[in-house]
């Protein structure tokens, strides 16, 4: 199982193959339906997302023990924003379920799947979480998150090979 730092992701992007399990650590950003819709409408792509990995997710509230749940949501709903993300140098997305293969092949980008319905596990591996854009969207705002050893599957690689 490869251990990968988000900051070094660009350097190993061509070495990842569909079906591999990786453990991802470092800083990533969440963005899902509402935030991506606003990014598209406003036509100004924030610089901090260039070269980043985007997690399609919306966390829960923090419980009275200080824990939260934050797993992946269905990626295919957000396929319409993929070109916008890749044109702005987003390196990979993290979600669940099938998604557009051809766009990944065209831009030589990666699609990673987190295991759906496992928000408790992924939540435990988020060590820092801060809303950094569109705060009014609540759980759908863009969060900057520090993660440690996220178990992820390379679902689509840069050649367009897919596990689905």
């Amino acid at each position: 199982m490869k251990r990968i730092q988000a900051a070094h992701f660009k350097g190993i992007i061509n070495k990842l193959s569909a079906g591999e399990v990786i453990l991802l650590s470092g800083t990533i950003y969440s963005a899902r339906d509402a935030a991506l819709n606003l990014l598209e409408k406003e036509k100004v792509f924030p610089k901090f997302l260039n070269g980043s990995i985007i997690f399609h997710a919306g966390p829960t509230e923090v419980n009275n023990k200080g824990f939260l749940s934050c797993g992946p949501t269905t990626s295919s709903r957000m396929d319409r924003y993929l070109e916008m993300l890749f044109e702005n140098d987003v390196l990979a997305t993290v979600g669940k379920g099938e998604r557009d293969i051809l766009v990944h092949k065209k831009f030589r980008r990666i699609y990673l799947t987190a295991i759906g319905g496992c928000g408790a596990i992924y939540g435990r591996k988020i060590t820092e979480l801060k809303s950094v854009m569109y705060e009014k969207l609540g759980s759908e705002s863009i969060f900057k998150m520090k993660i440690e050893h996220f178990p992820l599957i390379v679902a689509i690689d840069v050649k367009g090979n897919s596990i689905y």
Binding site: M1, G19, V21, A34, A57, G58, P59, T60, E61, V62, N63, N64, K65, F67, L68, S69, C70, G71, T73, T74, S76, R77, K96, G97, E98, T113, I115, G116, G117, C118, G119, A120, I121, G123, R124, K136, G138, S139, E140, P151, I153, I163, Y164
Partner: protein
């Protein structure tokens, strides 16, 4: 005629909604532990799913970040009625519990630009029961699997094999989008909206599904046929594609045969209580 205590009803519903989001059902635990992985990838996936259930219970944190839309069926007992503004009482109790339990506000009101846009406003179905007590069924229904819901008006001369085929084709079409292995709820007959409500009732497993021979044939046909679909756990082609299929049939107009199909993800979250 007695009025049900609104505070007690709403707090019990909110408590149930919290608990089903945190404690994995024993049916699901049993089904997941029965899956035999054959390689490292499959092992990682199934172990994460099992470990997730344990983590959620230990940390009192939701199993999934999508804590669902609260779907509530209330079957009022003989000579019992609901208090005024019971929908608001229930909604407010769930919203309070959302903070306490660390759940998510998943219901967005697009008509509100500022202020309380997000809540956990429930969907409530009222029915009259046949017993002296009031039966309440609470389900947390995730959005990913809800998006897979289907309504089709079948031909009234359709055979049960045609129904089974349509359901299997529908499962094949949605693939891994809603966190398989799935539980399938089928509402057959009634009219266009009734079949979907019956499908949702069947999905809860608390309203007498698969009782008649006809219902059994359809559910069994879907269950057996799903073994050839090659979707499996997380869409990776191993383990079961569906964990259960539950059908409720209602007689319908001679010109119609409505078929409602609803999906639950593998995190089945349902609880029942009586008042």
């Amino acid at each position: 005629m007695s009025v049900i205590n609104g505070k007690k009803l709403s707090e019990k519903i909110a408590e149930a909604f919290c608990e089903i989001n945190i404690v994995q059902s024993s049916f699901i635990k049993k089904k997941l532990s029965a899956v035999v992985p054959e390689n490292e990838l499959q092992k990682t996936v199934i172990n994460t799913m099992i470990e997730n259930g344990k983590t959620a219970e230990r940390d009192r944190v939701p199993l999934c970040q999508d804590t669902g839309i609260p779907v509530i069926f209330i079957e009022t007992g003989e000579s019992q009625c609901l208090p005024k503004e019971f929908e608001k009482l229930i909604g407010d109790a769930i919203d309070r519990k959302t903070f306490e339990c660390g759940m998510r506000f998943s219901i967005a009101d697009k008509t509100i630009a500022k202020g309380k846009r997000l809540s956990n406003k429930p969907v409530i179905h009222l029915m009259s029961g046949k017993t002296k007590t009031t039966k309440v069924v609470v389900m947390a229904k995730g959005g990913g699997s809800e998006n897979l819901s289907t309504l089709i008006m079948m031909n009234p001369s359709s055979e049960s094999s045609d129904i089974v085929k349509y359901v299997l084709d529908s499962i094949a079409r949605v693939g891994a989008k809603g966190c398989p292995p799935y539980i399938i709820g089928i509402g057959l007959g009634g009219d266009s909206e009734t079949c979907l409500i019956k499908a949702k009732m069947a999905l809860t497993g608390r309203f007498g599904h698969n009782k008649s021979k006809y219902e059994k044939i359809i559910s069994l046909g879907v269950f057996e046929g799903s073994k050839k679909l090659n979707i499996g756990v997380h869409g990776l082609g191993f383990g079961p594609t569906i964990l259960d299929c539950r059908t409720i049939y209602t007689p319908s107009h001679i010109a119609t045969l409505p078929l409602g199909i609803v999906f639950n993800c593998f995190q089945e979250r349902v609880r029942e209580f009586t008042l």
